[in-house]
Each structure stands twice: as structure tokens, then as C-alpha cells.
């Protein structure tokens, strides 16, 4: 019996291969053109606009990960006046830097240097820091604790303006709005999941966030890679932008002290 089946094997194999090769040929025939090889026709009307010179390549990530927190501590003296000794600003329109995401911090510094993000104050200051300095500062600020400190002159948890909007804010932060294509804030800014370059918002000043959302929606700030934040901020109403910002600014956002 076994002898017979061994003898039969080569004959069984032929139609097998034949069928397979015919199918493969048909698949290749029907699979159309190689779309990458097509010439890149450009929309000639619009000049090429590049949002940010930063890309999350291996080299970039390596530069940021080599940041030295101690060197950052010494460099941070230049930042203390506005961003606070403990990384918490005493002016609600300035961002808090304590617990800031390293990639996010580094990218913003590079964008200020290259003018991709405009700010009359920060552009001048960022020019004084090299890529390595920014990585050191990023390491330092990422290390700072975000726990509250009564001794510190910080504005951070501020009573929410218009607390009636809290439910609107929670809905957008936690669930987003699928009908309009607005993803939830916490799916990129944490604590549910993180996307490269998205800063944590849980300990950020409300007024600063509100200003940035407004700038994103009008296009005044346009340094987000692949138009991500602009697409979202454009769809939010003014009231929703205020609600989300003030909610985070009151320290009520998800993920407080979680990083």
C-alpha cells in the first residue's frame, strides 16, 4: 500500500503545480499597474509647503534619547523665568513644561528655530539652543514631577471657567465625536495611548491650550506633521475648544500625574 502511494506521488504533484502557476499568472495579470512606479504628478498650483522639518526617523529618536538631564538642568536657567523653576509657569498663557514628552519638546524647539512655529519670544530663545541642548532640556523637563507643590508660584490648577461645559469636555476628551470624525483627545495625548510628538495635556495650562487650539483651527500654527491637529481643531466649535482647554487647565483631565 505504502509502495503504491509513493509511486503515485510525482504524478499527483504535476496538476497541483500547474493549477498553482496558472492561478499565480492570473493573479499577476489582474493585479494592475505598480502604482508606486507612476510618475508623481504634482498639483502645480500650490507651492510645496512643509509643516515641520522634524521627522521621527531613527536618527532623530537617537538624538533625543541621548539627552542628558543634568546638562538640561543647567540650561534650564534660561527657561525658569517664564516656565517656572519646577516647570510650572506663573502665567496661564505660557505652557507648563514639567513632565513634558521628550519628543514633543524637542520637536517644538526645532520648529521654533526653523521658524515653522512662530512666536516672537520663543523663536529668539530657541535659536540659542542646539539640537543637543534641546535634547538635554527635554530629558530634564520630562523628569520633573507633576505633583502639586504649595510652595511653588504656579497657576496650574485653575478653577474651570464655565463649569457647565464640563460634560461637553469629558465627552470630547474620552469619546471624541465619531459623526464629525473627531477622535478623542486621550487616544493620542494619553493616558489611553500615545502618538509620537503628542504632548501630555493633563498638567497643561488652560489658557495656553485654548490659544493653541485656536491657532491650529485658523492655521496660524501649522507645524503639525501631516495636518493632524489642524484637521481636528478646525472641526471643533469655539465653545468646544474653550471647554476642552479649561477642563484640562483645571487639572480635571485624565492622566494627572500619570507620567
Amino acid at each position: 500500500m505504502s509502495h503504491a502511494s509513493q509511486a503515485a506521488r510525482p504524478r499527483v504533484g504535476v496538476p497541483w503545480l500547474g493549477t498553482l502557476s496558472v492561478l499565480l499568472a492570473i493573479t499577476l495579470l489582474f493585479s494592475g499597474r505598480d502604482s508606486s512606479a507612476q510618475s508623481e504628478s504634482k498639483n502645480s498650483e500650490a507651492p510645496v509647503r512643509i509643516a515641520s522639518n522634524v521627522a521621527w526617523t531613527e536618527e532623530t529618536l537617537a538624538i533625543i534619547s541621548r539627552g542628558d538631564a543634568f546638562r538640561g538642568l543647567l540650561l534650564a536657567r534660561r527657561c525658569n523665568h517664564c516656565h517656572g523653576e519646577e516647570g510650572f509657569s506663573s502665567v496661564p498663557a505660557f505652557p507648563n513644561l514639567a513632565g513634558e514628552d521628550r519628543l514633543s519638546f524637542w520637536k517644538q524647539m526645532q520648529d521654533f528655530r526653523s521658524g515653522k512655529r512662530t512666536s516672537p519670544v520663543m523663536q529668539g530663545i530657541a535659536e540659542g539652543f542646539s539640537g543637543r541642548d534641546s535634547a538635554d532640556l527635554a530629558a530634564y523637563y520630562a523628569m520633573l514631577p507633576t505633583a502639586s507643590d504649595a510652595q511653588d508660584n504656579r497657576t496650574f490648577p485653575q478653577a474651570m471657567k464655565g463649569p457647565s461645559r464640563a460634560s461637553m469636555a469629558i465627552r470630547l476628551i474620552v469619546f471624541g465625536d465619531g459623526q464629525r470624525g473627531i477622535p478623542p483627545c486621550q487616544s493620542c495625548h494619553g493616558p489611553v495611548s500615545y502618538v509620537k510628538g503628542a504632548p501630555p495635556l493633563a498638567t497643561q495650562n488652560g489658557n495656553y491650550l485654548e490659544l493653541q487650539l485656536e491657532h491650529f483651527s485658523t492655521g496660524n500654527r501649522a507645524n503639525d506633521i501631516n495636518v493632524r491637529m489642524r484637521s481636528i481643531a478646525r472641526q471643533l466649535t469655539t465653545e468646544e475648544r474653550t471647554a476642552i482647554s479649561q477642563f484640562y487647565g483645571a487639572g480635571m483631565g485624565p492622566g494627572v500625574n500619570s507620567r
Binding site: 493573479t27 504634482k42 459623526q179 487616544s187 493620542c188
Partner: protein, 173 residues
């Protein structure tokens, strides 16, 4: 002999099923993955190539047709709102900046997959004017369920009378 015929028939059926799956749903050339990724690098899409932000949206393609370039990323399609004329072949060229996403036109059975490092191209003709939601149809992360674009199919005459900026995307400005 009977077994053999049955087996070959089964293989042919499976092959045909695979073909139809590829044709209607996946739309990626098979050899795309054999040569080892010649598509754009997903992390530098915004720096060079055809997916820089000023080149996204609808543009004139080959004569009599339109090319729409899109990026799918966690968790938005860019541009999020596209407007196209009815009865004109529309070539979609999409890629992904991070995970695998799938763009499906709700209410039709067409869709295409956005793969990081590859450009997916497919041509559709929308016969009648209408509005389509474009939900992401492939789980891509925490915000997947809220990832949704919008496709607006307008009559040809109306499309022709629109300003160039309005023709590229229908996002609020």
C-alpha cells in the same frame, strides 16, 4: 482519479475566491511586496514626495479624470473632506503614516487599504451625486471608532463652477 479532480476543482474555486477578494477589497498589486517596499517612507511623508501637505486632496489626473491623494493616520484622514464630480473616474492614491488603515465608502462596497510604506491606487466612478461617510474599516488604535472622513459627490456642472481651492478639499477654512 475522482479525488484528484475534486482537489483541482477545489483549488480553482479557492483561487477564484482569492482573486475576487483581491479585486474588490485589497487592491494592492501582488508584486508590491515581492520587491521589498518601493513606496514612500511613512515617517517622512511630510518632507518630500507626492504626499506633502500642499499636494493632498483632489488634483487633475490624466485627461478627463481626477486624482485624489490622501494620508490615513492615527486617527484622521487627511484631507478629511473630499469633493468629487459624479460620473468621472476618480483615482485614489492613498498611503498611511503609521498603522494599516482602511478607507471604505459607507453605502457602497468599495474601499481601499492604506498601508505604511506603500501607495494604494484604485479608480472609482461615482454615478450619482450624494454624500458618503468614510469610516476607517481596519482597527488602528484607541481612536479608531472616531476616525471618519467625508466624501461629497456633486454634479459635474457644480464641480466645474467651484473655485480651485474648493475643489481640492471641502474642509472648513
Amino acid at each position: 482519479m475522482k479525488k484528484k479532480i475534486g482537489f483541482v476543482a477545489a483549488m480553482v474555486l479557492v483561487g477564484l475566491a482569492l482573486l475576487s477578494t483581491r479585486y474588490y477589497m485589497v487592491d494592492l498589486p501582488v508584486w508590491h511586496f515581492l520587491g521589498g517596499g518601493n513606496g514612500p517612507d511613512p515617517v517622512t511623508l511630510h518632507l518630500q514626495g507626492e504626499f506633502v501637505e500642499s499636494n493632498l486632496g483632489a488634483a487633475e489626473g490624466p485627461p478627463g479624470s481626477l486624482t485624489v491623494r490622501m494620508i490615513a493616520q492615527q486617527f484622521v484622514f487627511v484631507p478629511q473632506c473630499i469633493v468629487v464630480p459624479a460620473g468621472v473616474p476618480i483615482t485614489f492614491r492613498i498611503t498611511s503614516a503609521d498603522a494599516v488603515h482602511k478607507l471604505s465608502f459607507l453605502g457602497t462596497n468599495s474601499g481601499l487599504t492604506a498601508v505604511p510604506g506603500a501607495v494604494t491606487e484604485a479608480t472609482f466612478t461615482f454615478a450619482k451625486p450624494g454624500e458618503f461617510k468614510i469610516p476607517c474599516h481596519e482597527f488602528c488604535g484607541a481612536g479608531h471608532y472616531a476616525m471618519r472622513g467625508h466624501l461629497d459627490v456633486v454634479p459635474r456642472d457644480q464641480f466645474a463652477s467651484m473655485l480651485p481651492g474648493e475643489r481640492r478639499t471641502c474642509e472648513p477654512r
